[in-house]
Symmetry: C3
Subunit: 135 residues, 3 copies
């Protein structure tokens, strides 16, 4: 298995961060197999959505509607307001996905991007692990 | 890795489409390994649920309750009403899953089916990629 | 592929059950690869979240808010009240995840645990399949 850790500079900003270029570079030339994208943080997720046409911000709004950032809703209360919601989010937007790779290219659809979903404004940098298993 | 693309005729219909028979055929005789089911569209997802007893339609209703089809909620606005919601859905119902395969058979539970979840009524046909990595 | 089935005694209790110790033991000494955790039940899911600081119960509350346990919402109605919601949950909290394994260790973050999410109070024991594909 080939594996690599990315450092994504989120700059304390909540939002969606596109990982597609990094993933494309990582699997370039690697043939056929499965790419796992995994974020080793308890307040972030990985998604595959369209970016750049508003859906990235729409996803953040939908998460906030589903998981209100009023800490009275949560047992887990510390850090910035809404941190309790941040810890529930990975139950809904999971920290792991798998994308097929064909002949060294991501088999994504035209409008799909692999993204880090980070609702947590308390961190300036996030790690993401890319792992490729060929076959 | 063995891989194959299915064409699923949704006929412009919103709903849940059972892929289990296609997946069963695809991995038949392939031994042990992991099956990845991936939909290369930005407005569809893959789930593993019970079908045929109402839960498939219940899932569509739950998605509509979580992601209201009133386009005032979304920055991404074009196509049919609700298309903004369609683009958020893959953040919640991801376009990728992995199912273990044992001795050429899907290791699903009795009541589990692998399904395409398609809230988008603008397409008559959807592609789904099946990929098997043995070991 | 190495594979093993765990029996998790939930004791008819709704909640989150930590699988991390079992997964750690299972992949110990197995080198690099991908671990798939899969629950072969139609009313349970797998998540990767922090446990022990309240977020496990917060996740159950969030699921109940998103999928109300009033059976008038569901076509699928039988068993205990809320069973219709139990059958929708795997569409949101999927029954499958993949975690990278490096040198026989789970590449989880400090605060991440792999958990079984079981909203269904009708079962005393749940099965979970662990599968490791090295490479």
């Amino acid at each position: 298995m080939d594996t690599e850790i990315l450092s994504i500079e989120t700059g304390y900003r909540r939002g969606v961060f596109d990982l597609t270029a990094d993933a494309t570079r990582f699997i370039s030339g690697k043939g056929d197999g499965l790419l796992n994208v995994f974020v080793p943080h308890a307040t972030a997720g990985i998604a595959v959505i369209e970016t750049g046409a508003g859906s990235d911000d729409d996803l953040m709004d939908a998460i906030d509607a589903m998981l209100p950032r009023d800490d009275r809703h949560y047992r887990h209360r510390h850090g910035s307001p809404g941190h309790g919601a941040d810890h529930v989010m990975p139950g809904i937007v999971a920290p792991s996905t798998v994308v097929p790779v064909i002949d060294g290219r991501l088999a994504l659809g035209t409008w799909q991007s692999i993204v880090l979903v980070d609702p947590n404004q308390d961190n300036p940098v996030r790690q993401v692990r890319l792992s490729f298993l060929g076959g």
